[in-house]
């Protein structure tokens, strides 16, 4: 696909998604969950970005917004189309939306639920082609066979007409990857693609995704709760907390030199598979709350070990560049 490598592939500007809360469907709205609240970032072609954070921080909602499984409440999602123009797809509908999906695909967390059990592997992988009306049946078969080989399901003809229940978890996730790649997208949102897989299988899938990124020039938005996995899969990492991005930097920079107290806590809490490394004590209090009509101040204020009255009385800090593309949203850094 001709994409312009000098421009961002994906550019998100002040993206917001609020979910209304009601007692029941007829009741008036009681409040809003600010699942994603003013997110801005960009991804260059061929680069991958990781979104990390605890459950409920809005990382999956962000992923779903980018493939437009949700419609944003506010903000822009600019994605390069097939001609290299940045188009805002935030509110596209119908045919326009379908055209955009030629370019963007998603891989889901659970390969046991994301594949239709009544469809054969061929049906599953070729479905995007059918939806987009690409190729004849023979061409589709050839394309699917090629891809099954690429993702390591060989020989392809023995897999084509089997059903998902005949495959193991790792094989299913490979099918999901083949499906995401079949229409040659430039951008894939991968939502915890390896967290359901066993260790010895996981690395194979991670390496496959990396190889494919190099080979087809795909960029990933890689959503994960595991910083160690993100270290291997991404060029940049964005750390989210209650709908806000609190820190963003190049992957190694973020891991070696975390600035935001939340990132520090996350890193300190990540277990290290080696008893020879000591770990820092975690200093933050409490648990994650829900972003229901949050107070207009730093989202992390209640749990922050270094917050003071300034943080209490001022709005959520802006994400600022502290040098070298290391962005932090904190008044105290």
């Amino acid at each position: 696909m001709p994409i312009d490598r000098t421009k961002p592939l994906v550019q998100v500007k002040d993206l917001k998604k609020y979910f209304p809360i009601r007692g029941n469907i007829f009741a008036p709205v009681k409040g809003q969950i600010h699942a994603v609240d003013g997110l801005s970032f960009e991804i260059m072609p061929g680069k991958s970005m990781g979104l990390v954070g605890e459950s409920g921080c809005g990382k999956t909602t962000t992923g779903k917004l980018l493939v437009r499984l949700h419609e944003p409440t506010d903000g822009e999602i600019l994605i390069q189309d097939l001609n290299g123009n940045l188009e805002n797809i935030a509110h596209r509908k119908g045919k326009q939306l379908k055209m955009f999906r030629r370019n963007v695909q998603m891989i889901f967390q659970d390969p046991y639920e994301s594949l239709n059990p009544r469809h054969t592997i061929f049906d599953i992988v070729s479905e995007p082609l059918a939806v987009q009306n690409i190729g004849t049946l023979a061409e589709r078969q050839e394309r699917v066979a090629d891809l099954l080989n690429v993702v390591g399901l060989t020989p392809a003809h023995t897999f084509m007409f089997r059903f998902p229940h005949e495959l193991s978890g790792g094989q299913r996730q490979r099918v999901a990857i083949a499906r995401a790649l079949v229409i040659e997208p430039n951008f894939i949102v991968a939502d915890e693609p390896t967290s359901m897989l066993d260790v010895s299988i996981r690395i194979g899938v991670m390496q496959l995704m990396e190889d494919l990124a190099d080979r087809f020039g795909v960029s990933y938005l890689y959503i994960t709760h595991d910083l160690a996995v993100a270290r291997y899969m991404t060029d940049h990492i964005g750390v989210m907390y209650l709908g806000k991005m609190v820190e963003r930097a190049e992957t190694e920079e973020l891991l070696q030199n975390p600035l935001h107290p939340y990132t520090k806590a996350l890193l300190a809490a990540t277990p290290v598979p080696d008893p020879r490394f000591g770990r820092d004590e975690i200093i933050i209090k409490g648990g994650v709350s829900k972003p229901i009509d949050p107070k207009p101040r730093c989202r992390f204020y209640e749990r922050c070990p270094i917050s003071d009255d300034f943080c209490k009385n001022n709005p959520h800090p802006p994400l600022e560049d502290k040098g070298g593309g290391h962005y932090v949203a904190c008044y105290k850094v």
């Binding site: 690395i203 390496q207 160690a228 806590a265």
Partner: protein
């Protein structure tokens, strides 16, 4: 060395299914000293949970123990009648299960559930005494005692896991088996629960068996690590030793395939193939089809699980000669 609390000898256990017998646990032996903690690590289906259920004699009906003994001090748990075993559970051995949500009854308050366990296993006490004991347990696991009159749905995931730990501690057991105690929790909460468990274990001098697929979690909490593969014991040693110089190729593969945020970013090596089907497992060493060091003998004969010195056990015909770091250097 401290007195041996638990000794598992040649345990072999199968599940009967319509497709044939699943050979879930095969000739597993290990020991656990008083006050020690052992981490049992391996992939799904490697027999970790089956071992835990065998120790507690909570196996489903289609499970049959083919061979072996489980000694708790001088009692063979496998020889006890159901009535005798009931006296052992909770008081001597208790368990923290994987899904804390499912281990608590949603229609009783958390405090009442712990009191029920106390009444059944310790005997009659007054309501006041029982509540006093629950309050102590709550303090121990870091929960506010006033929460005991709340229902499980009012708890967060981490609080529920603490409540389940409090329940497991209620009858002062000698041994606690924690099966993936933090798997469903977020990292920061997981860290707190693990630290609490470690602290309690040290304070009360209990023995612990941690079961997890996550070698990083196991490395944090246990003194000794046992690695299982496809129902067999692959290796067992002190945590430090296992990481410094693993003997079994599977242990090495597990370690190198685990991404870490610390240390040098080494290349991750995937293992070829998939874990075997245990209805018809590979002959000899069950790891041989995926092992890069396998030879003819590995296919034919099961290697004995033996001591290579310093309490470092492994079952392998071709144990690794050099420390892990040197192999990583070469790769």
């Amino acid at each position: 060395m401290a007195k041996t609390l638990l000794k598992v000898e040649d345990l072999t256990m199968h599940y009967t299914t319509r497709g044939g017998d699943v050979k879930a646990v095969d000739r597993v032996s290990f020991e656990l000293a008083e006050g020690d903690s052992l981490g049992l690590v391996g992939e799904s289906g490697c027999g970790k949970t089956s071992i835990a259920l065998t120790l507690l004699r909570l196996l489903p009906e289609n499970a049959k123990i083919i061979d072996g003994h489980v000694w708790l001090n001088d009692t063979d748990l496998l020889a006890l009648t159901e009535d005798e075993m009931r006296k052992f559970r909770w008081k001597r051995i208790s368990m923290v299960f994987q899904a804390a949500m499912n281990s608590l009854n949603p229609v009783y308050t958390v405090g009442d559930q712990i009191i029920e366990a106390l009444e059944l296993h310790i005997g009659v006490m007054t309501r006041e005494e029982a509540r006093q004991r629950v309050a102590e347990l709550f303090e121990l696991v870091g929960l506010d005692p006033s929460l005991m009159d709340r229902y499980p749905h009012e708890y967060s995931g981490g609080m529920r896991q603490r409540a389940v730990i409090a329940m497991a501690l209620s009858c002062n057991p000698d041994l606690i088996i924690a099966d993936e105690p933090t798997t469903a929790l977020d990292v920061i909460v997981q860290d707190r629960v693990l630290r609490k468990l470690e602290e309690i274990q040290e304070k009360l001098g209990m023995s612990m068996i941690y079961i997890s697929h996550d070698i990083a979690v196991i490395a944090e909490v246990s003194n000794r690590i046992a690695v299982m593969y496809a129902g067999q014991m692959a290796e067992m040693a002190s945590s430090y030793e296992i990481f410094e110089h693993p003997l079994h190729p599977y242990t090495y593969a597990l370690m190198t395939s685990f991404p870490s945020i610390k240390g040098r970013k080494h290349k991750l090596e995937p293992l070829p193939g998939e874990p075997p089907n245990l209805i018809s497992p590979p002959s000899g060493c069950r790891f041989h089809p995926r092992c890069w060091r396998a030879t003819e003998i590995c296919e034919k004969e099961y290697p004995e699980f033996k001591d290579y010195g310093n309490n470092h056990f492994a079952a392998c015909w071709h144990p690794l000669e050099k420390p892990a770091a040197e192999y990583l250097e070469e790769a």
